[in-house]
């Protein structure tokens, strides 16, 4: 059976690469690949390791921090669920493998094999990225170490997903089966917390003192008997990566490979109930994905009851129906809900931090939120795509609606704009609250308040213009834009994203030049009488300029939409 699977995996990979090479004849893919390779070259190869004399202090923390990273990855798998990449079967796999004479264990083996292609690619990528770090042995040994690490994590998360699936599928019966392991897990967690409790004051003091002191305190906490024992397997997985010589690497690889083997046995020998549950879940997911036309993220079923805010009145501007539909799509997407939850938690944490201590942590939190808000101006429109970039796949449907083209463009763009603006205002609010706890913050509170108000005024317009640029690109050059909510991976996709970001930043800069000049002029005139509060009317002027530009652009793109025709193949 394994030969059949190897053949299938090999031919699939071979044909995929062949197809990717063939499509390099298209300038879109060629340019994207060149950009992607250039980026990887600059990030991974150009920044070569410094001479040995410049050995970094951080190298000694690699094993400890790496072990914590692995703990995080493992916990993520246990808490947030399945290893979808491994468990997801394509409709063709469901048709031919599930219906064929293939044992469930064979299915799991096949998916492990398929997943290896991705792990090998990731190992290569990480080897290149880590090439500039000044630790570890040769690149080849590092690549092997990374492969062992990533494969073990993948196996562990797959095993965790089997346990989780079993618990969900079989409820209390499975719980009884797992009660011993769950009790052990809980006891260990409590014991670790208890034994590390003595280190908490040192950790808190280290946090205030600086990174090195904090890491020292962390190392001391990790050296307690129980944490050391628990961390041992995680450190064992990282140790080959940090080994400085071949001999040291060879000694470190033994335990790591042993762990890998144990995980393989765990996953493969998971009892039949687990395998059946996983297979059934995969079958269901594949059917749902197939029914949705391949859309990978399943809508949450827990959010059907909508607040009155999301009720749609039957009369009024027809375009509102599209905004409503697209906002529902966001509300029902797991990622958007997680983002909203993170913002709320961030705001609460910032509020808590700002009223205690000397404000150092609050300031860091504030700057982080501010940086994200600024970055989202450029990357946000690429990230939030619940607009024409998703709906052009249903162009037939859109074209049959009784809506003028400009209404379609305006409504589709407005939905993404609203989501992005809410996210940015949330981040700015987190920053604003956090900075309240920094006594000697510069600029002072009144300046921060006026700038915050100005940002709230002008962000919707700027975001709308940015979204229009992205939607306009999708309308004018549909073959250059990836349509749909799922994102492709690989070097080409990386290059294409970078090309889009660079082109978008340039276009947005050009579009904003005149409104910004108008706003700056008004701000300078009013500064004498209003002081820093002049930024608010200046923001209003900016918004007016942006609205005027957007109106013209919407009309133009509306005409493009009305002339656009669905052609088989061009939209996919």
């Amino acid at each position: 059976m394994i030969r059949v699977f190897t053949y299938l995996a090999w031919r699939t990979a071979h044909n995929r690469v062949s197809r990717q090479l063939r499509r390099l004849k298209s300038p879109r893919y060629l340019a994207a690949l060149v950009f992607g390779l250039a980026y990887i070259w600059i990030v991974a190869v150009e920044q070569r390791p410094q001479p040995a004399s410049a050995t970094v202090v951080g190298a000694r923390w690699v094993e400890l921090l790496g072990a914590f990273g692995v703990v995080g990855a493992v916990l993520w798998g246990w808490i947030f669920g399945v290893e979808r990449r491994v468990l997801s079967f394509t409709p063709a796999e469901v048709t031919f493998l599930f219906a064929g004479p293939v044992p469930r264990r064979g299915l799991v083996q096949y998916k492990l094999l398929r997943n290896q292609l991705l792990i090998l690619f990731n190992s290569l990528l990480w080897t290149l990225i880590l090439a500039r770090e000044r630790f570890g042995a040769s690149p080849w040994l590092r690549a092997l170490s990374i492969w062992v690490l990533l494969t073990t994590i993948s196996f562990h998360r797959l095993g965790a997903s089997f346990v989780r699936t079993s618990l969900l599928e079989h409820g209390r019966i499975a719980l009884r089966h797992r009660v011993v392991s769950l009790v052990v897990l809980g006891t260990v967690a409590i014991a670790i917390t208890w034994s590390a409790q003595s280190a908490f004051p040192a950790l808190a003091a280290g946090w205030q003192a600086g990174p090195t002191t904090f890491l020292d305190a962390l190392a001391e906490a990790a050296a307690q008997p129980l944490p050391r024992m628990v961390l041992a397997p995680f450190r064992a997985l990282i140790r080959p990566l940090a080994a400085h010589s071949f001999g040291e690497w060879l000694r470190a690889m033994g335990p790591a490979v042993l762990l890998l083997g144990l995980h393989y046995i765990w996953v493969i020998r998971a009892d039949t109930a687990f395998e059946e549950a996983a297979a059934e879940a995969s079958l269901l997911r594949a059917r749902q994905a197939s029914a949705r036309g391949g859309s990978p993220s399943a809508p949450s079923l827990a959010h059907r009851r909508l607040p009155p805010l999301f009720r749609l009145a039957p009369l009024g501007w027809r375009g509102a129906a599209l905004i409503w539909k697209n906002l529902l799509a966001v509300v029902r997407t797991r990622r958007a809900r997680n983002m909203a939850a993170a913002l709320v938690v961030g705001a609460l944490a910032a509020a808590a931090l700002s009223f205690q201590g000397d404000g150092t942590v609050a300031e860091i939190a504030g700057w982080l939120a501010l940086t994200w808000a600024a970055l989202s101006l450029v990357i946000g429109p690429q990230w939030i795509r619940n607009d024409l970039r998703s709906d052009l796949l249903k162009l037939d449907l859109l074209r049959s609606y009784p809506l003028p083209g400009r209404s379609v463009v305006a409504a589709e763009t407005a939905a993404s704009t609203l989501v992005l603006t809410c996210m940015q205002v949330g981040l700015l609010l987190v920053a604003y609250i956090a900075f309240l706890g920094v006594p000697e913050m510069d600029p002072p509170l009144d300046v921060r308040t006026s700038v915050f108000a100005a940002a709230v005024v002008c962000l919707p317009g700027i975001n709308f213009l940015g979204m229009l640029i992205h939607n306009g690109t999708a309308l004018l050059f549909p073959a250059w834009v990836h349509l749909g909510s799922n994102r492709p991976g690989g070097v080409e996709a990386l290059g294409q994203n970078m090309l889009m970001i660079v082109a978008f930043a340039a276009l947005l800069g050009m579009a904003l030049a005149v409104p910004v000049a108008m706003a700056a002029g008004l701000g300078i005139v009013l500064e004498g009488s209003l002081g820093w509060w002049a930024v608010v009317p200046a923001a209003l002027a900016l918004e007016a300029g942006v609205v005027a530009e957007s109106t013209l652009l919407v009309r133009q793109l509306g005409r493009v939409f009305e002339r656009m025709e669905p052609i088989a193949g061009a939209m996919s």
């Binding site: 009145a313 027809r318 129906a321 003028p404």
Partner: protein
Amino acid sequence: MLVGRGLAVIEVEGLEKLYGDFLAVRGLSFQVQPGEVLGLVGPNGAGKTTTIRSIAGIIIPSRGEIRIGGHDLGREPVAAKSLLAFIPDEPHLFDYLTVEEHLRFMGRLYQVADVDTRIPGLLDEMELGSKRSALPGELSRGMKQKLAIACGLLHEPQALLLDEPLTGLDPVGIRRMKSTIVRRAEAGVAVILSSHLLHLVEEICTRVLIMQAGQSVAFGTIAEIVASRPALRGRRLEDVFLALITPDGPPST
């Protein structure tokens, strides 16, 4: 409000559609009166879907005019599209809207003031009452098709364009769909039905337009088409169709 009988709801004049050098539809002209069910039949690639999608306003004709309820589709697209409903063979639904939300969405698009009172009746008619909170991913192929049909019927269109509407429906669904089409036609709706199921066309269509290579090869009631070809007297639509589109006539059975 339906236009008065005798005044065509759908008027197609000299329709042509060119894809590059390929003429998909050439010089097609016909009218569909209120209450009439026009069957659009032809072999694969005959231009049926291009014709129906042109009438729906999805693709732009290279030449010719299309009027819906007297509104020119090119010049008054919103007014024209408000009067029609297009139901494709492959139901395109939104992943994140439930069954009921799809209908509310369509209600707003078509400005259906009494959407709350229409939804329960439509859901019952399409046997989707128990699925009103289901997302498309949870529906079978047939149920999705029923939902697409319900979306099309919500605003009580004057013109109904159906492209292979029975695809994916079970026998009960097919029976119900046929009665839905007939009922809507009896209420004065002009229907264009594109299908390869010739027995369906024969059963419910009042007139037939047979297409081949983008043009009309026969148009009229089945009796009129048969009457114009004495050799086909007494034959069924399937024989007439095969005689018209195959050079050697219908294959012997």
